[in-house]
């Protein structure tokens, strides 16, 4: 991450991709809303993608240590339950992450 040109290029590309996605409905909203296919994707895809990103990230964490993925399973469950009950994003993330750090320290990393 010492190469400013590489990191800078990545930042500009990410900014471009993000603003295009956020802008798309305002530029092509009528067209998008006319198509039942888009509605179908909107009903289903965002939740599927979030669950996939969650599984993939947690699995990546689990590969970083020996033994079964108990810390990941426990902490994801804690975050999900806290968020469901309280809607406090910060509380859910901080509590889950601190618990994860503690469990990893406890099990010897």
């Amino acid at each position: 991450m010492n190469d400013g040109g590489y990191v800078g290029t990545a930042i500009l590309l990410m900014a471009l991709v993000t603003v295009v996605l956020r802008g798309l409905p305002f530029v092509a909203g009528r067209w998008l809303r006319r198509h039942a296919v888009i509605q179908k994707l909107g009903d289903s895809l965002p939740l599927s993608i979030m669950v996939l990103l969650l599984i993939d990230t947690a699995a990546g964490q689990a590969r970083g240590h020996a033994g079964p993925p108990w810390p990941e399973l426990i902490c994801v469950a804690v975050v999900a339950i806290l968020q469901w009950r309280t809607r406090q994003t910060l509380l859910s993330i901080v509590a889950g992450t601190l618990l994860y750090v503690a469990l990893r320290g406890f099990t010897g990393g």
Binding site: M1, G4, Y6, V7, G8, T9, A10, I11, L12, L13, M14, V17, T18, V19, L21, R22, G23, L24, P25, F26, G29, L32, R33, V37, I38, K40, L41, G42, S44, L45, P46, L47, S48, I49, M50, V51, L52, L53, L54, T57, A58, P71, E72, C75, V76, V79, A80, Q83, W84, T89, L90, S92, I93, G96, T97, Y100, V101, L103, R104, G109
Partner: protein, 228 residues
């Protein structure tokens, strides 16, 4: 101040909860970015120009691993795809002024979206740009705090990168709350299993493609079941 302190629509009461979340989370981003070897001003540039929390957390390990920028752009596309569907539900309540409008579109994060959709439709267009700007200010401020801390303390905390998984879990819960539809969860679990068996190195990309296919193929939901 003409406004009563308890007015649930005052801008302060709307963005205070966002500040409580964005300042610490922005700080974690700035901290991780600097600890991974990134420069302070590039961390701030990320929060000013990209302004998308999950994608910014994702970029740190990808940049540290030196992955190609095309892979990073593709990951951003996947993580932020949900924003297309946010905008669709706010189409009719955008500010009339074109600069405010453009900025609001740029800055429409998950938190801004949930604050704005909690407002009555009539109040949205007036408050949108201000709500978005305050929220981004909290995020940039948090990033600056994190950068400052990260440049001073070299503490490797095993497991702090779990914050990305925690953020995805939060976003998944909120998607679930909006739709209450269990099928997309099953689609994700099953397609990830299939993808892992077929192509372990590209499991996520293949699973997303399979989920897209499954979303297209599933029968339409009966009218009236979507919670909007």
């Amino acid at each position: 101040m003409a406004r009563t302190p308890r007015n649930p629509l005052s801008v302060t009461s709307l963005t205070a909860p966002v500040a409580m979340g964005y300042i610490p989370l922005g700080a974690v981003f700035g901290f991780l970015f600097v600890q991974a070897g990134g420069s302070a001003w590039l961390a701030l540039a990320s929060s000013l120009l990209i302004y998308a929390g999950a994608a910014q957390f994702m970029m740190v390990p990808m940049l540290a691993a030196g992955l190609p920028v095309s892979a990073i752009a593709m990951a951003t596309l996947v993580i932020n795809l949900r924003h297309v569907f946010y905008g669709l539900s706010l189409l009719s309540s955008m500010p009339a002024n074109q600069w405010r409008r453009a900025y609001s579109i740029f800055a429409l994060t998950d938190e801004s979206y949930s604050v704005l959709t909690a407002l009555p439709a009539g109040a949205r267009s007036q408050r949108m740009a201000l709500v978005c700007a305050l929220n981004q200010a909290w995020w940039v401020l948090g990033t600056a705090v994190g950068v400052w801390l990260g440049a001073r303390a070299q503490i490797g905390i095993t497991g702090i990168d779990f914050v990305l998984a925690a953020l995805f879990a939060v976003l998944a819960v909120e998607q679930w709350r909006a739709r209450r539809d269990v099928v997309p969860i099953w689609i994700a679990v099953v397609t990830y299993g299939i993808a892992l068996a077929l192509l372990p190195a590209q499991a996520l990309a293949l699973a997303i493609a399979l989920s897209l296919l499954a979303a297209l193929l599933r029968p339409a939901r009966p009218i009236g079941t979507a919670h909007e």
